[in-house]
């Protein structure tokens, strides 16, 4: 079956613009995660969705970042008023159930803020 997909694969934007990144998890996976990975760095947790529970937003770096998920399907990560330090790869992952399960990652969206 299909894996986790993300779009766009690359995004170049100007400082101050808003961007929206999309993630399609594996069908049937109730948990969905967003991470940020700066060049040469590890993964930085942003937000976690589990079914209909309130999302864990503890990793969002500022109020310019927000994410939504419709049921157990698509999620969008929105960055408002982008800054140059937002440039990174944004990775989405999904897992079958509770957060401790194996995570399956998408290819990421490479965001460059000029």
């Amino acid at each position: 079956g299909a894996g986790v997909s993300q779009s766009p694969s690359n995004k170049v934007t100007e400082k101050g613009k808003d961007v929206e990144l999309r993630c399609d998890p594996i069908s049937g996976h109730t948990a969905l995660y967003w991470y940020r990975q700066r060049l040469g760095q590890g993964l930085e947790f942003l937000i976690y969705f589990q079914g209909n529970s309130a999302p864990d937003k503890s990793g969002l770096p500022s109020d310019r970042f927000s994410a939504e998920r419709t049921g157990e399907s698509v999620s969008t990560l929105t960055i408002q008023r982008t800054q140059q330090e937002d440039s990174a790869v944004y990775l989405c992952a999904s897992s079958l159930g509770a957060s401790r399960e194996t995570q399956y990652f998408g290819p990421g969206t490479r965001l460059l803020v000029l």
Partner: protein, 112 residues
């Protein structure tokens, strides 16, 4: 403060040798620990999971150990091949926390 440490320097080894990567953590009480592989330009791929009550886990040429007293996991690749060259990330799940926390990874380069 909480930390997950992996050797930031690349590990260079000769084909056929055993590669050993280290993951140390402080101020975590992980229920389990996972290892992922990441190739350039790609998302991480799950390799192995080891639980806190397990000392060792094997999968083909891969072996993971987990010492909760030392707060350390070792990841071994035996009979290494150039195709094993990648960055390897450890990740752990802290008790009571719902998401994984990742280390920054160690890059492995296997020379033919």
């Amino acid at each position: 403060s909480q930390k997950i440490e992996q050797n930031s320097e690349a590990l260079n080894i000769q084909e056929g040798k055993t590669a050993t990567l280290t993951c140390n953590y402080t101020n975590y009480s992980p229920a389990y620990l996972q290892w992922y592989r990441q190739d350039p330009g790609r998302g991480p791929v799950f390799l192995l999971l080891i639980r806190e009550n397990e000392k060792e886990k094997r999968k083909e040429r891969l072996k993971v150990t987990f010492d909760t007293t030392l707060k350390q996991s070792l990841f071994h690749i035996t009979a290494s091949q150039p195709a094993d060259s990648a960055t390897y990330l450890c990740a752990l799940s802290d008790t009571g926390r719902r998401a994984l926390t990742f280390g920054s990874g160690t890059r492995l380069q296997v020379q033919p």
